[in-house]
Symmetry: C2
Subunit: 349 residues, 2 copies
């Protein structure tokens, strides 16, 4: 079919073994021989079969990424980060999307990546005990990003901190009646919780009583945000500021406000989380989390693990170090002090 190593060897007048060594830059090859082999390979436009090489060597040269979404900016950005560092090592990326609960079950049950990758990056999928157990069956390096997998290295941000940065900002602005639009993502739950807890904690610290009516739980995404805001607006006494679990949700809320003839931030402040590129375009105040960078770190962890354990599969020999990247408040123009003194100023004004 195609040119093989044997062809090259023959043409260079050496054995396949030597040709192999010569082409993969391994020692014990005379410079002249190496040159000859290289020339032969060049002339024949030879390209080694990674699969055959891998079979013989026991590695695949690929790493898999399991993630819940492909079309959301955040996941794409993380993926870009992963890709950008792995490409330098000539490692290929295999994608496994688990869109819904069924996908998820199927993935962990059948482990489609088994025997196909040297490592797996679990992205944005907090994994439970059973799932983790299944994963271990793959016998490969596992790294978690944006969510954890017990016993394995991970990268992420502190969602509690991020949430506090957002709500604290609102509090410092003088808001006392702060609503929350909490988004649930059936796939990657976990951090929504931390973001919700942050809300309660921030209010508590500010001495603001928690009012259940002020939190709307909706589906992730713009539509959810729009709906949540509508609910909040329907309150006898609506909030003067709203904390949304993500920028998409926040943008949905903004649309509801706009359609209701309310102005942001004059009539109501809105803050999101993530710093989606469109947040900048829409002047949305938010808390930035480094997306691409999380991917880069995850990929470096993979590389490190692969270098450490060249095939070693000793379950105990893993170093489940974790890296938490900082988040940062980005004040734009969707937040401002409450319009009038209808509520008391914050304690630490």
């Amino acid at each position: 079919m195609s040119v093989t190593l044997a062809d090259v060897a023959r043409r260079a007048g050496v054995s396949p073994a030597t040709a192999s060594r010569a082409l993969s830059d391994r020692p014990h090859v005379a410079v002249a021989t190496r040159a000859r082999v290289r020339a032969a390979a060049e002339e024949l436009a030879f390209v080694a079969s990674p699969d055959a090489a891998g079979l013989a060597r026991g590695t695949t040269g690929r790493v898999g990424v399991v993630l819940p979404h492909l079309s959301r900016w955040f996941f794409g950005a993380v993926l870009e980060g992963i890709e950008s560092v792995l490409r330098h090592e000539r490692i290929d990326l295999l994608l496994y999307r688990v869109g819904d609960a069924a996908d998820r079950r199927a993935f962990f049950d059948t482990l489609p990546a088994r025997r196909k990758v040297d490592a797996l990056v679990v992205l944005g999928l907090p994994v439970d005990a059973r799932e983790r157990e299944r994963l271990e069956l793959m016998g490969v390096t596992i790294v978690a990003a944006v969510g954890q997998v017990a016993g394995h290295p991970f990268v992420g941000v502190d969602d509690h901190v991020a949430g506090r940065q957002a709500v604290d900002h609102l509090v410092h602005l003088g808001h006392r009646r702060i609503g929350m639009i909490a988004a649930t993502d059936p796939q990657s739950d976990g951090y929504p919780d931390a973001r919700s807890v942050a809300y309660r904690d921030s209010l508590a610290d500010a001495g603001i009583p928690y009012d259940e009516d002020l939190v709307a739980v909706v589906d992730w995404g713009g539509a959810g945000g729009a709906e949540g805001m509508a609910r909040l607006l329907g309150l006898r006494e609506p909030p003067t500021a709203v904390y949304a679990h993500s920028d998409e949700v926040a943008l949905g809320a903004v649309r509801t406000l706009r359609r209701a003839g309310l102005r942001v931030p004059e009539d109501l402040s809105v803050i999101g989380i993530d710093d989606h590129p469109l947040a900048d375009l829409t002047d949305l105040t938010t808390v930035r989390q480094p997306a691409r960078e999380q991917g880069e770190v995850a990929a470096r962890m993979v590389l490190a693990a692969l270098a450490d354990a060249p095939g070693a599969d000793v379950p105990g020999a893993r170093a489940p170090g974790g890296v938490t990247l900082p988040t940062q408040l980005v004040v734009r123009r969707s937040t401002a002090p409450p319009r009038d003194g209808v509520t008391a100023p914050p304690r630490d004004g």
Copy 2:
């Protein structure tokens, strides 16, 4: 290292050949034998090595996707479409991102996907003659999506039509002074051209003279859009409506307007292209192009080609059929008739 087919065969008391047949649901295996083999495989938690199988069979079970961006909604959505149909055939996805000119050259020069995939989807990268020639070297099925590769099947939309739908809408609304923010994407140029040509054609049909001052050429993205709009606003006589090459660009333009204290669409109309999810959230009028569906069609083309030519690599035997999906005007709230009769009504008002 891990459980092999030989282990299973031994345990089931059959030869590896039979075990292989039994496990891959091929004929000529007694039901009882098949059951026995299956049981053995089950007990040993056996999983065949796809690489070894592929090596022997001459296929990889993977298809590659080359694309310029991972974090843009549009590409992610197309990718989701591809993934969703390929997963059913248990085909894996290998990603190749060519972010800039250097990546691009490197990709076509070194062909990193060579010998690693059964087919390649070229997504959003109009390929030139030399690049195409390199691609052929891979000797695999090639399908183009959102851009073409001469001589190979492709899916896409008609960008000229899309552009006309957008500009015609503005014209029908009564606008005569219509600006364009043309975006150039160093990677995937090609369609921006069609979108620009549509602008000229639409104006010509409406009897509106082409005014070079009214077109701002900027980089793709929100920042570009913002900048382009600023330029247009600086004109002695600014346009009453603006046609942007994409929703992101349009949103950037909207931000500039908002910051300038201008209202959309009262003071100025803005239209984009794509129907990005955030277009809905921002009430942006646009022309929708089916993203996910383009991916699905591309994947089906791959499947068809793979089924047709099970290994056949006869260069002439390809059926380079193309599929063009429809685009559709989505009127929201960023476009309206011009404010006053400062310009003459359109011919076909």
